[in-house]
C-alpha cells in the first residue's frame, strides 16, 4: 500500500531548480534512504513531504489525500500525521523530555491519562526511562537523539521523516544509534524516510535506496543496485 506519493514534483529556490520533476511512491513499512551530496535536494524532498514548503509544480499525496499541489499546501503539516527528526534535532529547550514528547500528544487532543501512558511507553521504547523530567540541555548527544526520535514516534505517525539526524555524532555513537533506529523500525513497523549524505549509514539502514544528484533521482532500487552504481561511477571517473 502506497503511503506517500510524489507526482512530477518540481521546486525552485529563486531561479535555481532544487527538485527537478521527481516522481516517487513510498510503501507502508518501507525503509527508504535518500542518499546524495550536499545541495542535491534531499532535505527539500522531506520538507515538501512534511508540508513545510509547497511544490511549484506537481502534486504530493499522503495516505490517499491530496496534500500539496502546484504551489499550494492543501493539507497543513499538522494534519499530515507524520513525524520528523530534524538535523539539529530542534528539541525545545524550555520543556523537559516528557514535555517535548507530550506537546504533540496534547495538540492532537489525547486525554491526560492516555498521554502519561504513551509518554512512558515511548521513553521505554527508546531506552530513556528515568529521564522524563530532565531538560534536553542536561542530556548527552546520543540521549538527545533518542528524545527527538521519541518525540517523533509518540503520536504513532504514518511515516517518520529523518533529516541527517546522526550526522553530527562521532562514528561510534553513529553506529550504535543506527542499530537503534533499525531495532525501533522492526519493533514499531513505521514507514521510514531517511536522508543522509553518508554512504555507510545508507547501506546500513536501507531496504530501498534513492540516489539523488542535482535535484533528480539517479537510482531508485536496492542497496546492491546503489552500490553497483557507485562502483561504476567511480570507475568511469
Amino acid at each position: 500500500m502506497t503511503i506517500i506519493r510524489l507526482d512530477s514534483v518540481t521546486k525552485f529556490y529563486g531561479q535555481i531548480k532544487i527538485i527537478d520533476d521527481i516522481s516517487l511512491k513510498i510503501k507502508l513499512g518501507e525503509r527508504l534512504i535518500i542518499l546524495g551530496p550536499s545541495g542535491c535536494g534531499k532535505t527539500t524532498i522531506l520538507r515538501l513531504i512534511a508540508g513545510l514548503i509547497a511544490p511549484d509544480e506537481g502534486k504530493i499525496v499522503i495516505e490517499g489525500e491530496l496534500a500539496s499541489e502546484n504551489g499550494q499546501i492543501l493539507l497543513p503539516p499538522e494534519q499530515r500525521n507524520l513525524g520528523m527528526v530534524f538535523q539539529d534535532l530542534a528539541l525545545w529547550p524550555h520543556f523537559s523530555v516528557a514535555g517535548n514528547i507530550e506537546f504533540g500528544l496534547k495538540a492532537i487532543g489525547m486525554p491526560l491519562r492516555e498521554r502519561k501512558i504513551r509518554i512512558m511507553d515511548t521513553l521505554k521504547l527508546v531506552g530513556l526511562e528515568g529521564f522524563a523530567e530532565r531538560k534536553p540541555g542536561e542530556l548527552s548527544g546520543g540521549q538527545q537523539q533518542r528524545v527527538a526520535l521519541a518525540r517523533a514516534l509518540a503520536s504513532r505517525p504514518g511515516a517518520l521523516l529523518m533529516d541527517e539526524p546522526l550526522s553530527s555524532l562521532d562514528p561510534e555513537l553513529n553506529i550504535r544509534l543506527r542499530k537503534e533506529v533499525l531495532r525501533l523500525h522492526e519493533k514499531s513497523g513505521f514507514t521510514l524516510l531517511y536522508v543522509t549524505h553518508d554512504r555507510e549509514e545508507a547501506w546500513a539502514l536501507s531496504n530501498r535506496m534513492i540516489l539523488m544528484r542535482k535535484g533528480r533521482i539517479e537510482i531508485d532500487g536496492s542497496v546492491e543496485e546503489a552500490r553497483d552504481y557507485f562502483n561504476r561511477d567511480l570507475l568511469e571517473r
Binding site: L52, E78, R80, F86, W92, H94, G104, A107, I108
Partner: protein, 531 residues
C-alpha cells in the same frame, strides 16, 4: 487563519494609532473653511524665521551627532574591547543619562552653571556670566544632548564589535600593532554601526523638544509646541512640523538604502567571547583617568548637583505631596505602555522576521518613521485625529497617552523582537507544527518562551522610553492625568529650584530602580524556564 487575523489586527492598530494621526494632521492643515488651501505653508520657505529655525535645528543636531560619535566610538572600543578596569561599571554609568528625560539633565546643568549655580558661584562674576549665557543657547543644548546620547554610539560600537569574527583581528595582529588593526580592520567592520549611531543621534536631537525649550533655544519642535499650546494655532503648529517630517523621511530613505541590510540583524558571533582584547599597557592608567573624569563630569556631577540643590529630606516629602499622584500615574502608564509595546512589537517583529506578508518592509518602515518622527508631530497628530466628541472615550482618557507610546516606540520593541526571533532555529516551530500544534499554540508554548530574553529586553526598553516621554504626553494628556515628567516640566515655571531638583531625583530613581531590577532578572534568564 488565526495568524492572519492577529497579524492583521496588530498592523491595523499600528496604522490607526501611528500613521492615521500624522496623515489626519497633514490633511487638516491643507484645508481652510472647507476648501483646499496651502495658506499654512506659504511662509515656510520664504520667512526668515523659518530659515533661522532650520539653521538652529540643523546646528544642534549636527554638533550633537559629531561630538557623540567622536567620543562614543572610542569609548565603545575602550569599554567593549580593551583591558580597561571597571568596564561594566562605566557602561552602566554612561547609559544613565539616556534613561532619564533629557530636560532633567538640563535642569541639573542649570543648577550647576546658571547665574547663581553651584559651580558658577565659585567663579569670577564676569566669567560666570559668560558661562551662564553659553548654557542658555546652542552650547548648553549640545552639552546636555551630548551627555544624553553619548551611550548610543558607545553601545552600538560595543554591539557591533561582538559581531566581528575574532580570526579577522587576530590575522591583523600577526602583522600589525593594535593601532593598525583598529584603524584598518575593526573600524571598517563596525562602520555601519557607527553610521547608524550617527543617524539615530541626529534624528533624536532634531526632534528634541524639552532641552531646547528649557534652555531657550528655538528649534522646530519648540516652535511647533509653542504655536500649538500658547497660540492654539493648529495650522502653524502643523506647518512647523513639516520640515521635521521631511528631514526625518529623507534620512530614513538614506538609511533604508544604505544601512538597513547591514544593521538589521545584529547577532554576536559565537566566537565573540574569544575576541582578542586590546592591552592598554602604559596607557591604561591615564585612559582610566580620562574615562572616569568624563563619567564624573557628564553623569555624576549633574546628579550630585540635583541632590545638593534639593537640600534636605523635607523637600522630598513636599515633592511627593505635590507630585506623588503623577509619579504613580507615570509608573502605571509606563508599565501598561511597555506591556502593549512588547505585545505589538512582538507580532510586528514576527511579521518582519518571517516576512509573513509581502508588505513587511513597508510596515517596518512605518514603525521606524514614527520612531524617528519628533514627539510633537505625533502628539499634534493624535489631537488632530482623536479630539472629537465621538472619540472622547479615547481622547479624554489615558488611552490617548498609550496610543502615543505605541505610535512612537513600537520600532524599538519590534526591532528587539526581530533580533531575538532570528536566533531561534526555524526547526523549533516546524517541529511543533508537524507535532500538530496550531499557530497560537506554537506562539504561546514554543516561540514566546524561546524569545523570553528579547521580550524582557523589549519590555524594559518600552518602560524606559514611555516613562521618560515628555513631548507626546505633554500635548495629549487629559486633565488630571499628567505624568511626572510633565508635572516637573510645568512646575518649572513657578516651582522652587529645590522642589524641581527633588522631583528630578525622584524621577531618576523611578526610572533606574525598576530598570535595574528588570535588568538583573533578564541577566538571570539564561536557563530555560521550568515547565
Amino acid at each position: 487563519m488565526s495568524r492572519r487575523i492577529i497579524l492583521a489586527g496588530t498592523v491595523i492598530l499600528l496604522l490607526i494609532v501611528g500613521l492615521a494621526p500624522v496623515l489626519s494632521m497633514l490633511v487638516k492643515s491643507l484645508f481652510s473653511d472647507g476648501r483646499f488651501s496651502t495658506e499654512a505653508y506659504q511662509g515656510l520657505f520664504t520667512s526668515h524665521h523659518q530659515w533661522t529655525l532650520m539653521g538652529h535645528s540643523l546646528s544642534l543636531s549636527l554638533l550633537t551627532m559629531i561630538l557623540t560619535v567622536i567620543m562614543g566610538v572610542p569609548l565603545g572600543i575602550l569599554l567593549g574591547k580593551s583591558d580597561l578596569p571597571l568596564r561594566r561599571f562605566f557602561i552602566i554609568l554612561f547609559v544613565i543619562p539616556l534613561l532619564i528625560p533629557p530636560y532633567i539633565t538640563a535642569v541639573s546643568w542649570v543648577d550647576l552653571l546658571s547665574g547663581n549655580g553651584l559651580l558658577t558661584g565659585w567663579m569670577n562674576p564676569g566669567f560666570a556670566g559668560q558661562v551662564s549665557r553659553l548654557l542658555f543657547g546652542l552650547p548648553g543644548c549640545v552639552l546636555v544632548l551630548f551627555a544624553t546620547y553619548l551611550p548610543i554610539p558607545m553601545i552600538l560600537t560595543i554591539v557591533f564589535l561582538r559581531t566581528i569574527h575574532p580570526g579577522m583581528e587576530e590575522a591583523g595582529r600577526l602583522v600589525s600593532e593594535w593601532n593598525g588593526v583598529v584603524k584598518k580592520i575593526t573600524l571598517p567592520l563596525i562602520l555601519p554601526g557607527v553610521f547608524l549611531a550617527a543617524l539615530l543621534v541626529f534624528l533624536l536631537s532634531f526632534g528634541e523638544f524639552g532641552v531646547p525649550n528649557f534652555l531657550r533655544y528655538t528649534v522646530f519642535p519648540v516652535e511647533s509646541f509653542t504655536q500649538f499650546s500658547a497660540f492654539y494655532d493648529f495650522k502653524a503648529a502643523t506647518a512647523a512640523t513639516i520640515p521635521l517630517a521631511v528631514v526625518t523621511f529623507l534620512l530614513l530613505v538614506v538609511e533604508a538604502r544604505f544601512l538597513r541590510e547591514k544593521t538589521y540583524l545584529i547577532s554576536s558571533t559565537p566566537e565573540a567571547r574569544q575576541s582578542p582584547i586590546i592591552e592598554l599597557k602604559n596607557c591604561r592608567t591615564w585612559l582610566l583617568g580620562i574615562v572616569a573624569l568624563l563619567g564624573f563630569v557628564i553623569v555624576i556631577l549633574p546628579i550630585t548637583a540635583l541632590i545638593f540643590q534639593s537640600g534636605n529630606l523635607s523637600i522630598y516629602k513636599e515633592a511627593l505631596r505635590q507630585a506623588g499622584d503623577s509619579l504613580v500615574r507615570s509608573l502605571l502608564y509606563a508599565g501598561l505602555g511597555a506591556t502593549f509595546l512588547t505585545i505589538v512589537g512582538f507580532f510586528i517583529g514576527y511579521l518582519i522576521q518571517t516576512k509573513a506578508w509581502r508588505f513587511w518592509k513597508a510596515i517596518d518602515s512605518v514603525t521606524v518613521f514614527l520612531f524617528a518622527l519628533p514627539g510633537t508631530v505625533i502628539g499634534i497628530g493624535l489631537i488632530s485625529l482623536w479630539n472629537t466628541p465621538k472619540t472622547n472615550f479615547i481622547y479624554g482618557t489615558p488611552l490617548i497617552i498609550l496610543f502615543g507610546y505605541l505610535a512612537k516606540y513600537t520600532a524599538l520593541t519590534s526591532r528587539i523582537s526581530v533580533t531575538q526571533l532570528a536566533q531561534i532555529p526555524p526547526t523549533m516551530d516546524e517541529a511543533a507544527r508537524i507535532a500538530g500544534a496550531g499557530w497560537i499554540r506554537r506562539m504561546i508554548l514554543i516561540t514566546a518562551p524561546l524569545a523570553k530574553r528579547g521580550l524582557v529586553a523589549a519590555w524594559l526598553a518600552g518602560y524606559v522610553f514611555s516613562l521618560r516621554d515628555t513631548s507626546i504626553t505633554m500635548l495629549v494628556y487629559p486633565p488630571g492625568h499628567d505624568t511626572l515628567p510633565v508635572r516637573i516640566f510645568t512646575l518649572m515655571a513657578n516651582g522652587s529650584p529645590e522642589l524641581i531638583a527633588a522631583l528630578s531625583i525622584i524621577m531618576i530613581v523611578a526610572t533606574l530602580l525598576p530598570t535595574g531590577i528588570f535588568w538583573m532578572i533578564s541577566e538571570r534568564i539564561d536557563r530555560p524556564v521550568i515547565r
